[in-house]
Symmetry: D2
Subunit: 308 residues, 4 copies
């Protein structure tokens, strides 16, 4: 298994963004999170991903977050920055800022909101690649952008040097298998990372180059142990670590009166607060912050799995 971009392989958690109770960005908590992740052996940081509340963040806030990530990382691991916005020109603006602030790579989705064809999607990635000289990851996340990136298009753009990698949150493990196979045959131009923290083991069996697990904010050690086992060919450990991590993931079912982002990322924030990493589990507007029973249930799950 060789790769043109070996630097982005391994466990690359998408950082959850801590907020103070007044909604401002909490730099101290962010520093603690970054140190926690790197100390645990993570191989990179993915900043401003979907769970990093990129679409909730104004341009000024995005800049604050990137600056803090670059500063606190201090060159220890690669920093990949999500440049998520509706259409090409808006994405290019974010990408230029990310480059200026020191990002090592950028992550971009298909265009969204306006209806388009695959021809436009392809041109979108080409134009961004031409405009900004940084390794470009395609972020395949149809649940948010309502376009599935075909594996054949991804490998074509990888072979031509437009894309450096793929962050797959498509939920389509069949397509993922074909993507990895096609990429292998093309000489492995793409670094392929899975975003599905509950089935990273299956993605590794398929040949993934790494993972971007939201749950990695809570238990980075687990994902690092799993990665090391994967590298060593120890599939039993890959599986048993996954079973344990899947168990911790049940924190997202704790709040019964929230759904989507408020349940998922909300539970990650609550867990990080309980772990003493975040000062607060405050959510960005318009999402309600978790409280009461959900918090107790999350604490119980964390304790039962020895991550509290």
């Amino acid at each position: 298994m060789t790769s043109v971009h070996p630097d982005f392989r391994g466990v690359v958690p998408p950082l959850v963004t801590p907020l103070n109770e007044d909604g401002s960005f909490d730099r101290d908590s962010y520093k603690r999170l970054i140190d926690k992740l790197i100390d645990a052996g993570c191989h990179g940081l993915f900043v401003l991903g979907s769970s990093g509340e990129v679409v909730f963040s104004t341009d000024a806030r995005r800049k604050e977050i990137i600056e803090a990530a670059i500063e606190f990382n201090a060159g220890r691991v690669p920093v990949i920055v999500g440049c998520i916005d509706t259409e090409t020109n808006r994405v290019i603006e974010h990408a230029k800022v990310a480059k200026e602030l020191g990002a090592d790579a950028i992550v971009v989705t298909a265009p969204f909101y306006a209806l388009q064809g695959m021809e436009e999607v392809e041109r979108h990635f080409r134009l961004i690649h031409e405009a900004v000289d940084l390794p470009l990851f395609a972020y395949d996340i149809p649940v948010c952008v309502h376009t599935k990136l075909p594996h054949s298009l991804l490998v074509k753009l990888g072979t031509e040097g437009v894309l450096a990698g793929v962050k797959d949150s498509s939920g389509d493990d069949v397509s993922f298998r074909f993507l990895v196979q096609d990429n292998e045959r093309a000489g492995h131009p793409l670094t392929i990372l899975t975003g599905h923290e509950v089935v990273v083991d299956g993605a590794y069996l398929s040949g993934a180059d790494g993972c971007v697990p939201g749950l990695g904010n809570i238990d980075p050690e687990g994902y690092v142990r799993q990665w090391n086992a994967y590298q060593a060919g120890d599939w039993d450990t890959v599986k048993s670590e996954q079973d344990r991590l899947a168990d911790i993931m049940r924190i997202v079912f704790a709040p019964t009166d929230l759904q989507g982002f408020g349940a998922g990322v909300g539970s990650f924030k609550t867990a990080l607060m309980l772990q003493g990493v975040f000062n607060s589990n405050t959510m960005p507007a318009p999402v309600r912050t978790q409280s009461g029973d959900a918090v107790d249930k999350i604490a119980e799950i964390l304790r039962a799995n020895n991550v509290l």
Copy 2:
């Protein structure tokens, strides 16, 4: 039929945005378009709607467009500005800019990209209303944001003074009927505009307060005649104008190799170029600009309907 916001009733076309061939904003063409619409008797201008390429426009571009609209309109009719972005805080930023530049009202969709529940959608509108003192229209466009706004929620927010109106592009004429009925019974707090240029007559039968027809860029006189007939209770004219306008709308089927925004708004731009209103039919990245057969077919349709 009385309304708290009578100023926004009538024909309010969503302005298509002209670009120069290099992608820059073409102010001269925009001036011609605005004069054309107001001269035809339109009752308001909707700037930076979906067909006004709001999601393709950077913040600087959005500002350019709003400034030009305010300047060229010169106070003749109300100017409604689309503040379309993913989540609350980003929308509030756009809304504050719109207010500062002189907008008379703002239009806002449900949050998109991140998955949420209806509780968050409701809070989203409340927070924007609290943050920016301008009449607030809810933009119901599930095909783009993947959330349908329930008519009961809209009327509730209207009654409480959070919403001033609704721009309905939901494609759900059943729900539209219930919305209008409920609004009437609540004392008509909402000004309800339909965005479906092909069936404005049906929306008028349901009791709509006006329309926001993309095709109004091409034939504003038709929609104004239809509105006047509606006000006079002359349903036969309402229908016959609609039949004619539906015919012109077939320009969007002219390009056989484009879909979505490139076919729809692309054909509007081509028509405006053929009419001499726009200098160019250039589309924003990553959308391909129409050429060849599609242009000829559009010219033919316009000519057959006496709008060229």
Copy 3:
């Protein structure tokens, strides 16, 4: 407005199917319903439509229902029979039974369950037309079969004599407008009926040949008065009847703990029971039968609109 199949124009309610409390077919109630509809002036009967619980009915039950409809109708108005099933050969079986039992026309959806392309959909209608010599209506109901029938395909099949008509429950009023226009230009080969009982007025403005309103089971007189006004060009009455009917339609919101078929058709059955037409509002397995508050609320709505 001329039509190859004038017999199917007008108000053609989709008959709700009465069940005894043990789930057996209640012939007596069915006779009362058929007499009620024909006495009110309805122009045809649509038997075994979606709201006639066709997909809940075994083949034996379907036969019972068709036989009863033919017998009780006694040749007074045309009887159109829904032959709804997954794929071509199964549909043809139902169609042959319908013909044998005396149906005047059959109604068929696109194939469903198996994934297919539009080529297969077209062949499906052609094969059914070849196999059974009865006027064939295409039933456009994407919410159930997850395929939208393109208006161009429908008019093509009408022109070739494959289709005699369309029952449109697509919820797409824009496409409906184009369908009616194209049909008109092709010489009106198709009889086009709308299934959207809440916006029949808009469909009439678009030029529909009639309606298939589920709510017509409850208030057929209203739809017949509306039809007569439409024929006389009296649009104000068309609209005012519709406003009243839309009000009655709110019975479907009465049950707060049911959704889909149980709320919609369930409320029709409850209303028919309250009106003394049906002995029971029993629903087919696995749907729960309405009771309690919902029944009271429905009675109240019926009374407020003078249909109880």
Copy 4:
């Protein structure tokens, strides 16, 4: 890993149904297929699944197929029969026929076509279980029925003895992981089989009890070797067999002018014809039978993988 229904574990291919060129059922080819599968070591036969063209088959045809399967199997392995139809009573009819003809278990989807809530889905399975005394598998196939079965509901119905197992074709590997975990904790009441032939290895890592691979019709030996490796804990072989099988699966991309069932099951039929198992690759109406380039390309892929 223990199971209440050990008989249904392992490799249980969903049999493709051979047709003669006139569309009649080809018993001889079916016999060859069954012998091929059992000789290869398959542990069971799944008759009349989605790829066994159950929804294309009339009741008479379904009976023919079940009878042939029971006869040709001659008691060698368990025979599971798909009883796929729209709603409860229709399913129960099929289930009674299946039992009478000698099925060992039945497979049932959520109700489809009519819109419903989860309460009805649950009652559907309960009523079928009460009506027919055979082990009942829930078939989770949202792409066809547009309802996803929640893992919590499945485990609850397993624990209560309503369901004996699950055939998962949901494409949701995250939910699958939770299903397997919950089932394990509940004492393994359900036999859980995956239908995703391209990622069976990942499902085995998650703890699946077996697979129902359509591609198993073409290369049953591969899936049996993989199963044996799984039982032996030899994950490298589990993975390498899967990589090879995923390669063969690319036959479904061979026809470029077909989609869905015509491409997928069509390619399986073509492969079986090329292998000499089927006399013909004839498809059921309204699906077009493959020919020309697609056949050549499929032959090439089979040859390259030593299954021709």
